[in-house]
């Protein structure tokens, strides 16, 4: 990432890189590793950059009921970046949407937890995995809330590679047209896509300016700093309700496992070493 791009953000990217993780964040990572160990596969890097974002959403932001996943007044969360599903599964299991033991059956023949999210999983709102689908669906959910006079808020989490897709920008223009103040987009900006650096594969900078020019109110956060995420999401939700908003979360792909951090080859892993387990306190 060059200096010009760095200086366009207020977030200290060094702090993002060095962000210490608390016990709850490590616990959620242990659940992710447990699922990969048992499933013998999984997108680990893309899940690890999402943990704090999804944790804070479910702990502090979204109005939801784990005993009643289809509660009509709930806020809707779509993990458009479906390949990060292990982070979502870990949080949903931890919240009690399904037993934690289900994680041991990740990707098994008759599991409710597949390699991409599907609506058979309690708490999952939409089947995602093919990229660029979540924001258009979010537009429909946001318009439906308006038609049905519900104050449900819609949150769509996308990857930084995902926003290469044209459908994301079709939806962005549409969100602006309809002044969807009940819609919040989140970008997991870990700056690595499958093939390598997003700045080499498909640079989307100036990213904040792009979203602003599409009519979004733009906020940014350190995507691993729980306190910063809480503050930023609270600010996002409190913004005037006549404009959609986007929160650009600066993150580290593979966060929490030193060997995986910022390492594109950790996009998908089938086998994990004891080294990895040690990093998150799974083994002494």
């Amino acid at each position: 990432m060059n200096d010009a791009i760095k200086s366009s953000y207020a977030t200290d990217l060094g702090r993002v890189r060095d962000q210490q993780l608390d016990e709850r964040s490590l616990h959620l990572r242990r659940l992710i590793v447990r699922a990969i160990d048992k499933g013998k596969r999984g997108h680990i890097g893309p899940a690890l950059s999402l943990v704090e974002i999804i944790r804070v959403l479910y702990d502090d932001v979204l109005r939801h009921r784990q005993q009643e996943p289809k509660w009509p007044e709930r806020d809707r969360f779509i993990l458009s970046k479906g390949h990060g599903c292990l982070a979502l599964y870990a949080v949903l299991a931890d919240k009690g949407y399904f037993p934690i033991a289900e994680l041991d059956r990740f990707c098994h023949f008759d599991s409710i937890l597949g390699g991409h999210p599907e609506v058979v999983t309690p708490g999952v709102e939409a089947c995602t995995g093919a990229l660029g689908h979540g924001l258009p669906i979010g537009i429909g959910l946001a318009l439906a809330a308006r038609i049905q006079k519900r104050d449900s808020r819609i949150v769509v989490l996308m990857g930084d590679g995902e926003i290469n897709e044209g459908s994301v920008w079709e939806a962005a223009a549409c969100a602006d047209k309809h002044r969807l103040g009940n819609l919040t987009a989140i970008i997991d900006y870990n700056k690595l896509q499958s093939a390598g650096s997003v700045f080499e594969i498909q640079n989307m900078e100036p990213l904040a300016d792009k979203w602003a020019s599409f009519g979004f109110q733009v906020l940014e956060a350190n995507g691993h700093d729980v306190a910063d995420l809480r503050r930023t999401f609270a600010r996002a939700m409190a913004l005037p309700p006549n404009q959609p908003r986007v929160v650009i979360c600066h993150t580290v792909k593979g966060k929490g496992i030193p060997a995986a951090e910022n390492n594109a080859s950790w996009h998908h892993k089938a086998e994990l070493s004891d080294h990895v387990r040690q990093a998150i306190g799974l083994k002494d």
């Binding site: 939409a126 093919a130 689908h133 258009p136 669906i137 429909g140 959910l141 946001a142 038609i147 549409c174």
Partner: protein
């Protein structure tokens, strides 16, 4: 047929507050009454098919019933993954209204000619695929569509099509209609869909004048296919001819062949009339392009006569 279809969207919207209309940059003033009466359920969006399919899916997830309309090629080819995943994988009650099925847009060239729409929609799990034959039948389909629990592709013809369909009591999604109940022990079975049924009926009349009895089975729902009706009618015929304004790859003809083959029984020979496996090389008008492939009363009658002659050998 198109006008009736869209008028019916407004009628259904008056009847049921779940009904929403979404268009993609269509004619100015389209469904103006609906826009005026129910502005919160009328959406004229930009040229962004991927987005409108996802948007319709999101609405349907919340219990609404969106009717989405644009040109057939754009609502099928352009956003196929959105149709497959957002609509079919979630099995949502979204209705896709495709303007200009087949060669309707002949002068506009292959970019606008939906010659494989039935095939690609038919390949998707949970999708219902329809092609009615006239405006009266469109009314019946639209009434039936309101509470159908799956996504539906509704193929539109040119408009101003002659009325040949039967009264309302006959219509149900997924049920073929025998258009010649008086055919008795017909020699040939003609299975047709969309406005090709009109040509098939005319061919049937000409053949009857020549002493050849034909049964015309109108298949307004290509999927789910009324396999029972087709198989039953084929069992007593000496020849089956399928007719469609669609590629011979994957459409009605293919569906009929599959249904007959799956019986494991000995079936009469099948001849398929449809568009050859190529993009159009000409402009002109719809009928002229169909004439190339014999999709007209003369071509159908000839296919029956020749087919029966060969079957007798």
């Amino acid at each position: 047929m198109r006008k009736r279809c869209l008028d019916m969207v407004y009628t259904l919207a008056q009847r049921d507050e779940r009904v929403v209309f979404i268009g993609s940059d269509l004619s100015p003033g389209l469904l103006g009454e609906m826009k005026k009466t129910y502005p919160e359920r009328y959406y004229m969006e930009g040229v962004a098919e991927a987005n409108i399919i996802g948007m319709a899916a999101g609405m349907a997830m919340e219990g609404l019933v969106p009717y989405v309309n644009t040109i057939a090629t754009f609502i099928t080819r352009r956003c196929y993954e959105q149709v497959a995943l957002d609509l079919c994988l979630h099995d949502l009650p979204v209705r896709l209204i495709g303007n200009g099925g087949g060669y309707v847009y002949a002068p506009l060239g292959p970019t606008h000619q939906a010659i494989e729409d039935l095939a690609i929609m038919r390949a998707l799990p949970n999708m219902t695929v329809t092609a009615v034959c006239d405006a009266e039948e469109m009314t019946r389909l639209m009434n039936a569509s309101l509470d159908w629990p799956h996504p539906i592709y509704i193929r539109l013809a040119k408009g101003g099509d002659p009325i040949v369909s039967r009264p309302a009591k006959d219509f149900a999604i997924g049920k073929a209609i025998d258009m010649s109940e008086d055919a008795g022990d017909a020699e040939a079975l003609i299975v047709a869909t969309g406005v090709a049924t009109t040509a098939a009926l005319e061919a049937g009349k000409r053949l009857a004048a020549d002493g050849v009895r034909c049964r015309v089975l109108h298949v307004h729902t290509i999927k789910p296919l009324d396999t029972q009706a087709i198989v039953d009618a084929a069992r007593t015929a000496r020849l089956v001819v399928t007719v469609e304004e669609h590629s011979i790859v994957g459409g009605l003809g293919s569906a009929v062949l599959e249904a007959l083959a799956d019986t494991g029984e000995r079936m009469p020979p099948v001849r398929r009339l449809g568009i050859g496996d190529e993009f159009a090389h000409h402009y002109g008008n719809q009928q002229k392009l169909m004439d190339i492939w014999g999709i007209n009363p003369h071509g159908i009658a000839r296919a029956v006569t020749n087919g029966l002659a060969r079957a007798r050998q």
